[in-house]
């Protein structure tokens, strides 16, 4: 199938690791370009989850029997794997959540509720996914704080002058996407976090769209919190990660109460376990955590350097091919972009584009991408979004382009 333009990645070979990719839909080979919504899973992840249930299933952190011991070891090994993946200082800074959304809500409620006061400001950006906006709006409603948003340029880049103006004496938290899910813009999070920290502002980076595509070093970024989702990083659904700086986690109260997060419980009250257990009440998603560990192993076996080179090449090719079509306007043309190609076809609603592409076997997302403020800013109700992963090929971009020609013919 595909070219091996990049030394180190044999795309045709690695596609065989993903069972789902070999199927046909609507009589055509599946062309999966909806990776920003969720990614496909390699056999090793599927097998890790299956093997856990077939041979290791038991609850963790409590049993004295062999299976419980095995499950606990595997679960904690995944935590160490994630800590290496993010270059966290310690596995104790890794909290397993249901996903990015839950991680951000955890910070909002555990860190935010006791910390923010009327007049305090939470700084976000116009390009945030709803999951990095709505939890702060809820927190603002609970505490009397206000949410302010850094504007963007027409190209979809942050207005850094405005950022400097908005980062003020009342700012308590900066919450910013590493990569925009709707536009693909890579934000200069290291610089933004540095400016915030100079002012003592706590920082959270939404890494849902970056962690699957580029190396993340939370210590180099310097952020206090970093959240991402397993299912977008080739792992199972229902598991995500919240990295939290150890010193901050120590001071944060529990978010949910239950088993596994306590030290001592009496009818009168309870004392709580140290992080990360303090934030993992109840039986967690053990199989999914183990599957996530396998996903990070898989990414590690490929290496981010060749992944980034290939995805950069694909995005450049897609930008040229799709952007060159008459009647198509690219949305989000930041200088630094990753894996996302958003566009509109003049005179054709994105849902209709999506229906025609689906008939060609091409899976894309049409809609507001859970980022309504950025759509409103750009004056669009919706866009078509093709989002790439390392297993995509130039031939698949060609299939997308053929589908777009058919869209133009049908709705001419």
């Amino acid at each position: 199938m595909a070219a091996t333009a990049t030394p180190g990645l044999d795309i045709g070979q690695l596609r065989k690791d993903f069972p789902i990719l070999s199927q046909r839909v609507r009589g055509k080979p599946l062309v999966y370009l909806d990776n920003a919504a969720t990614s496909q899973k390699p056999r090793s992840v599927i097998d890790a989850v299956g093997r856990f249930y077939a041979a290791e299933n038991a609850n963790i952190h409590r049993g004295v029997h062999v299976l419980s011991e095995r499950a606990t070891v595997a679960y904690e090994a995944a935590r160490e794997r994630v800590a290496r993946f993010l270059n966290a200082a310690s596995p104790g800074e890794i909290i397993f959540t249901r996903g990015t959304t839950e991680g951000i809500n955890l910070v909002a409620q555990s860190w935010g509720r006791g910390t923010l006061h009327p007049g305090d400001e939470i700084l976000v950006t116009v390009m945030e996914h709803h999951s990095n906006l709505v939890p702060w709006q809820l927190l603002a409603g609970q505490t009397g704080a206000t949410v302010r948003a850094v504007p963007i340029t027409d190209a979809g880049e942050l207005d850094l002058d405005a950022f400097d103006r908005l980062l003020g004496d009342r700012t308590r938290l900066l919450a910013v996407a590493h990569v925009s899910n709707a536009l693909g813009t890579i934000n200069p999070v290291q610089a933004l976090v540095a400016r915030a920290r100079e002012r003592g502002v706590v920082t959270l980076v939404d890494g849902a769209q970056s962690a699957p595509h580029m190396p993340v070093d939370v210590q180099a970024i310097g952020c206090d919190f970093f959240a991402f989702s397993g299912h977008k990083a080739f792992g199972p659904t229902g598991v995500g990660v919240l990295y939290g700086r150890g010193a901050l986690l120590e001071r944060m109260p529990p978010w949910q109460g239950g088993g596994d997060m306590i030290e001592t419980v009496t009818l009168e009250g309870s004392t709580f376990a140290p992080p990360p257990a303090r934030f993992e009440a109840g039986t967690p998603m053990i199989a999914e955590v183990i599957g996530l560990g396998a996903a990070l192993d898989y990414i590690g076996s490929l290496g981010f350097e060749p992944i980034m080179a290939w995805e950069h090449d694909l995005l450049a090719y897609a930008t040229e091919q799709v952007g060159g079509l008459a009647g198509i306007r690219l949305i989000g043309t930041a200088r630094e972009k990753a894996s996302v190609l958003s566009f509109v076809v003049e005179g054709v609603h994105p849902h209709d584009v999506g229906a025609v592409l689906d008939d060609e076997g091409v899976a894309i997302r049409a809609g507001h991408h859970c980022a309504q403020p950025v759509m409103r800013r750009l004056g669009l109700p919706a866009t078509v979004r093709a989002s790439l992963a390392f297993y995509n090929t130039r031939e698949e971009i060609d299939a997308l382009v053929r589908g777009l020609h058919r869209v133009r013919t049908l709705f001419a």
């Binding site: 054709v348 609603h349 994105p350 849902h351 209709d352 229906a355 025609v356 008939d359 049409a366 809609g367 507001h368 309504q372 759509m375 109700p381 919706a382 049908l410 709705f411």
Partner: protein
């Protein structure tokens, strides 16, 4: 015919290009706004009544070809109908797009039968029925009603 060409029949494509009754109505008796938060589609429907009869109906808004053509064909179909006739038409139309209408009954829908292909695309049922829900809301309550939050019944209810 492929299911895609069943969905986008020529009548639908033509009404999408040149929607009928696509205009505001300054002397309307009632209007309502319909909104589908899932895809951002938005439609306003205006109605002028003569007793129990829909004397004039018009719409404006933004949405996909299915929702726009559906609104356009709806305005043509319900003009001159009583509330009861409109309700009966909507009922049959709704069953058509959800695949629950016997083929014999589809013929009673006239031009609206071109939406039969929608039943193969469950996610597009909302698109086809948004303007109908909005017209129903306008007739029932008048004033401005958000069909998205007012909670139109049925499996095609717009969801957040």
């Amino acid at each position: 015919m492929s299911s895609l060409s069943e969905l986008y029949q020529n009548v639908i494509l033509e009404h999408n290009r040149s929607p009928r009754n696509f205009r505001p109505m300054p002397d309307a008796d009632q209007d309502a706004e319909g909104h589908n938060p899932l895809c951002g589609d938005q439609v306003v429907v205006w109605v002028r009544m003569n007793g129990d009869v829909i004397e004039d109906v018009s719409f404006q808004g933004s949405g996909c070809a299915i929702s726009r053509a559906s609104a356009s064909l709806m305005t043509s179909a319900v003009k001159g109908k009583t509330r009861e006739e409109m309700a009966s038409l909507f009922d049959r139309f709704h069953r058509l797009v959800t695949g629950a209408l016997p083929p014999g009954e589809a013929e009673t829908l006239g031009k609206l039968a071109v939406f039969s292909g929608v039943s193969e695309f469950p996610i597009r049922v909302k698109c086809a029925s948004l303007s109908w829900h909005t017209l129903k809301a306008a007739l029932e309550k008048g004033g401005r009603v958000d069909a998205g939050t007012a909670g139109p019944s049925g499996p095609d209810r717009p969801s957040a």
